[in-house]
């Protein structure tokens, strides 16, 4: 029995031919004399044979050029964000703290930051000129359901998901209250992580919505992208001025109301979420 356990510990290596000759010989001898181990090994090998039948749907030939273009845009947006953080975020926004002023400068700085982010994103996109994305579907899948229907359903689901995540995120941000929670307890990292993910999805979503004639939704995604960029650009902790700017922006643009409106219109589902929230 001990021998069986020892041999089975080597199955992973044996399945992929990574045993050295001496251990392979030992394994072969054991399997030849132990029906139980031989059957177990054969079953694992058969499992791998099944897994080898997996096929990946290949992207269309233009995919790689677009991939580079989108990556270019993300790198550019990241550079803009970093630049804002280091130049505008820490110096102009901190002016309010130092001066104890009424915040007008902070608002102007934030407006400048927004404009820079917008310019950066726009430049990134313009320079890349990404083409509309269509991945080659798995042939069998395409045969089962009309492609246009599949794409529309996929887009609707992704928009619902995007709106839901944005809504949860923004609710968390607008409900941040340092006076209640204590400044030290504020950690923006989870908000920033989700924001960055959503920013990464925004360009593709916007294009697809525009192509689908969903102009209002595309505009909403674009406006969300700017607010998300602000969230992503928050200093790691205690950037309360930055949070106030974002809260005001969400309020001014009625983003939460519009998300709710669009979700109702498209039949978006309200589901429990584990995105960062004020309570979380």
């Amino acid at each position: 029995m001990k021998a069986c356990e020892h041999v089975r510990e080597q199955f992973a290596e044996a399945l992929y031919g990574e045993l050295d000759p001496a251990r392979q010989q030992h394994l072969d001898r054991h399997l030849a004399g132990c029906q139980d181990c031989a059957a177990r090994f054969a079953a694992l090998r058969a499992t791998l044979d099944v897994m080898s039948q997996r096929r990946r749907a290949q992207p269309d030939p233009d995919f790689w050029a677009r991939f580079a273009g989108r990556l270019d845009a993300r790198v550019a947006a990241d550079a803009v964000n970093n630049d804002l953080r280091s130049r505008v975020g820490s110096s102009l926004l901190s002016f309010r703290r130092r001066s104890g002023g009424d915040g007008r400068w902070a608002w102007q700085a934030a407006a400048a930051a927004l404009a820079l982010v917008a310019v950066g994103i726009a430049l990134g996109r313009l320079s890349m000129s990404p083409a509309p994305e269509k991945l080659a579907p798995v042939p069998e899948a395409a045969a089962l359901e009309p492609r246009a229907t599949q794409e529309a359903a996929s887009l609707r689901l992704r928009v619902d998901r995007y709106m839901q995540r944005s809504q949860t995120l923004l609710l968390g941000v607008v409900n941040l209250d340092a006076s209640a929670d204590g400044v030290e307890s504020l950690d923006f990292a989870p908000y920033q992580r989700v924001s960055q993910e959503l920013i990464g999805q925004a360009p593709l979503l916007e294009r697809e919505l525009s192509d689908a004639g969903e102009r209002r939704l595309a505009e909403l995604v674009a406006e969300l992208e700017l607010i998300l960029s602000q969230i992503a650009s928050l200093e790691a902790r205690q950037d309360l001025e930055g949070v106030e700017v974002i809260q005001e922006g969400v309020d001014r643009q009625a983003l939460l109301f519009r998300i709710h409106l669009e979700s109702s219109r498209t039949g978006g589902r309200e589901e429990p979420s584990t995105e960062p929230s004020h309570a979380g």
């Binding site: 992973a12 897994m51 997996r54 992207p59 991939f67 798995v138 069998e140 992704r158 584990t274």
Partner: protein
């Protein structure tokens, strides 16, 4: 847009040579995208994950000491980004769990008169593709990463250990558990996998 334009040449620290990020992207984008596809299971998330991995690589390029090959380094970044995502996507994972039984039940299991029993037609079957995808979804993030790196990307166990900064023993054990788990998940192919006696 060629990958060369992704970024200017960034000064790396590998033997005093400059590391061209655009060149790194061009050389590795396919394998990183397909790794991301093997990890996430769909093109949309795969592209997003691959882009995130390259963005992290770009951000960390100056810290890249060159003690691993760029490909190995990118594998590590991609898997780490994937595991980070899994941690923050508990909802999606829970959804996967919930939908698994429904979906598995909806897929016809192979029977004697089912074409999936025929090896030639099985290869063409969409149902088995879905079974395989769902079985992969049942692995833990680390199991899935190690399995796809070994099975689909053909990295040796020691290379996986090096790429993921794990011991070789951990990689072996995790891979073995992954294959066992897949065997259980594919139990509808019971006779073919020789499972009648010991499932």
């Amino acid at each position: 847009m060629p990958a060369e334009s992704v970024a200017p040449v960034v000064e790396g620290r590998t033997e005093g040579q400059a590391l061209d990020f655009g060149e790194i992207v061009r050389l590795h984008q396919r394998r990183i995208f397909f790794l991301a596809l093997d990890l996430t299971g769909n093109h949309h998330d795969a592209e997003d994950l691959a882009q995130e991995a390259f963005l992290r690589a770009y951000q960390g390029l100056k810290r890249f000491r060159g003690d691993a090959a760029p490909g190995t380094w990118l594998y590590r970044i991609t898997v780490n980004a994937y595991i980070d995502r899994c941690r923050t996507r508990a909802e999606a994972m829970a959804q996967t769990q919930r939908s698994w039984d429904d979906e598995r039940d909806a897929i016809p299991a192979p029977t004697d008169d089912n074409p999936m029993r025929n090896p030639e037609r099985r290869t063409e079957s969409m149902a088995i593709q879905r079974h395989i995808d769902l079985a992969l979804e049942r692995l833990s993030p680390q199991q899935r990463a190690i399995f796809v790196l070994r099975h689909y990307h053909e990295l040796k166990l020691r290379e996986i250990a090096s790429a993921l900064d794990l011991s070789e023993g951990t990689v072996k054990k995790t891979l073995f558990r992954a294959v066992r788990r897949l065997q259980q998940e594919l139990s509808c192919y019971r006779p073919e996998l020789g499972l009648e006696e010991r499932s």
